[in-house]
């Protein structure tokens, strides 16, 4: 089921295919929020997320003729924003300075006062790891799909997810005593 249904979607898409700007704006208004959310969860900065969102809707306007109604409209648009976000990560070439990420983390104390919340911990993850966590655990992409989008293997996606969860567990102070 489409989590972001659009009223009169068929008609809006048909008009957008003919270049009707009002229809493209209707698509923008309907999906602006979820598109930005995916972009922001993957990209490092607000500016990147805003830019990726714009590029996503430009691509939607350019490629709407290719959308044949197979699968949900949101699924189609989400694939575009996910791909654009990953491209942005590659373009920016944020260095995966894992040691830095480790070092800037507050150390957990016995009383747990310096534990991070999930939002902050997610933000601290290396870019690729964060993208894999979001695409797999929240958006529901498979490891094979993520690997393909990233130009990597399925195993790469799996190992990134495992390392990310190990970090989250540690940073959130949730390691179970053995």
């Amino acid at each position: 089921m489409d989590p972001f249904p659009l009223a009169d979607a068929e008609q809006v898409v048909s008009r957008a295919r003919r270049g009707d700007q009002a229809a493209i704006e209707a698509l923008y208004r309907a999906f602006e929020g979820p598109v930005y959310n995916v972009a922001r969860r993957i990209c490092r900065s607000v500016e990147d997320a805003e830019d990726v969102s714009q590029e996503t809707f430009l691509e939607v306007a350019r490629s709407i003729r290719k959308y044949r109604g197979e699968g949900s409209l949101w699924g189609w648009i989400r694939a575009i924003v996910a791909s654009k976000s990953l491209m942005r990560l590659r373009r920016n070439r944020y260095r995966e300075t894992e040691e830095l990420h480790e070092n800037v983390m507050p150390r957990r104390r016995e009383d747990g006062l310096l534990r991070m919340d999930l939002e902050a911990a997610l933000e601290r993850l290396p870019d690729v790891s964060r993208a894999v966590v979001w695409l797999h655990d929240v958006e529901g992409y498979t490891h094979a799909e993520i690997g393909e989008m990233m130009g990597k293997t399925t195993s790469f996606s799996k190992s990134q997810l495992a390392r990310a969860h190990e970090r989250l567990r540690r940073w959130l102070g949730e390691e179970v005593a053995v």
């Binding site: 700007q21 922001r40 969860r41 969102s53 809707f57 939002e119 495992a162 190990e166």
Partner: protein
Amino acid sequence: MTHLTMDQLLELRDGLTEPGGAAARAHVAHCPHCQAELERLHQRVAQLKALPTLTPQRDGWAAVRSRLVKARHRRFAWGGAGGLALAASIALVLLLRSASPMPPSSSPTTQAELEAAMLESRLLEEALTQYAPERRVTDGYTARVAAELEDRISALDQELQVTQMAPAPDGDRALLELWRQRVGLMDALVNVHLTRASNVGL
């Protein structure tokens, strides 16, 4: 006791069947530590999905629309070049026809009118190219009207190409009608840019 790795726990959480999956499941059934880890991973997905939706700080539609209009102008610039090429190829056809010993498919008057319409269209296009609207600040209303006119001209160019490839029964009269329509639309487009849309009653 050796506990499951994070990879193995995630495989179990996601219901993936990997070699050794049965052994991992058997281990979890008897290991409170791994049971707790697995439960935490299930909860993590729920926690991630429950994070607040991040929303843009400002309305980005104006920026998207502006980039769409610019892209349309770029496309139209190519379409304009295509229109010139189209005019040149039709002129060549007319020239060959007039040089041919075969009787022309239309009267000399129609042919002269056709050439005049094509020339007028080309002059208007050159005037627009010199004005270079894509390098000027355009208000939203003007941009919208111009975009509509450009769309109609693009559609008309396609129709012209089809008519040229498969001539209509009434010979060059159909071509002439289409070229006159093109001149009218080009004229309106030039006016929109030169005088702004509000002054041309569109």
